[in-house]
Symmetry: C2
Subunit: 187 residues, 2 copies
């Protein structure tokens, strides 16, 4: 089973998500794209929410890979590049971004929670390395990592929803705001 029905279902759901948002992800269309019946998904996922959760987990795992410790070079630059990658991914795939960071009430979907923990742990390691190199000020790396990530995340989210427009007089895109923050933090 090279493709596997489960993977084909996740693929189809991601494609429909990109094209028309979560409400365009109907189980009937997912099944049609995957070449199965409209309720075959129930043999692989508890419900539509779990299918979307699998899409989100796959996406977040891919994002976490970009947070892998750099093979060398300036640690501050590695972290800055990781945040630019975060912003670039979100701007290129707004529906996936909104899905990953949407509300997931309940304690199920452990796959998604694990991916989130991996991403944050790797980011904290990058921050700690940047602190050691002197690119970032001292302090708890978890807290400074949350600061850096919150700025990047918020800049992207506001840009996607049109609440901070790029191109105006003093307005800036997410990438510029990330660079601004690193400059302020470098003192």
């Amino acid at each position: 089973m090279p493709p596997g029905t489960r993977a084909a279902l996740v693929d189809a759901a991601a494609r429909l998500l990109d094209e028309g948002g979560p409400e365009a992800v109907t189980l009937r269309e997912v099944g049609r794209l995957a070449g199965v019946s409209h309720n075959a998904p129930y043999k692989h996922f508890a419900d539509k929410r779990a299918l979307l959760g699998a899409v989100a987990a796959r996406e977040l795992t891919g994002l976490a890979e970009a947070f892998e410790p750099g093979r060398g070079g300036d640690a501050g630059e590695v972290l800055r590049a990781a945040m630019h990658h975060y912003a670039g991914w979100a701007l290129a795939h707004p529906e996936r971004f909104k899905l990953v960071f949407g509300r997931w009430p309940g304690d199920d979907l452990p796959e998604l929670g694990a991916a989130a923990e991996t991403a944050q742990a790797r980011l904290v390691a990058l921050v700690a390395a940047a602190q050691e190199s002197g690119a970032l000020p001292p302090g708890e790396p978890e807290r400074l990592g949350s600061l850096v990530r919150a700025l990047t995340h918020g800049a992207v989210d506001l840009a996607l929803s049109g609440h901070i427009a790029e191109g105006g007089k003093g307005n800036a895109g997410p990438g510029q705001l990330v660079d601004d923050l690193f400059r302020y933090l470098a003192g």
Copy 2:
């Protein structure tokens, strides 16, 4: 018509939104809560999306009021208090926050766009005042305002989706991250 059917519909939609998210806002239940039939909303709004847009616009207008220029006092503190208010509102009403900053494709819903512009213009004025008082560094107030707001917004959004946990070792809540940023900006 003291309440007005339109206002009653928006009220009902907001209540259902708080209780169960956007998918709990069914036109049938909205009508029932407002004491009208399940398709009376179509006499006041083009569709369900426009009804939710009215809820979002009302919410964003209320938020913008908190950005009104302070009657005095330290301008830096006024801005910091405004960001704490932003975070407090979002944490208290997560569904409204997610709705306001969700995706609104298309150029309709001018009410929502106008509220967004008002909010951002007022924030920029607060930033400019804080710069004059020396609480914030110089530079384009639009750009610095975007930085401050992006951090606040991102901290709240990540906290709501559980991607930065409060209470852990070095972890911090949105309010603490806002204070951290102001400290770094004050140099």
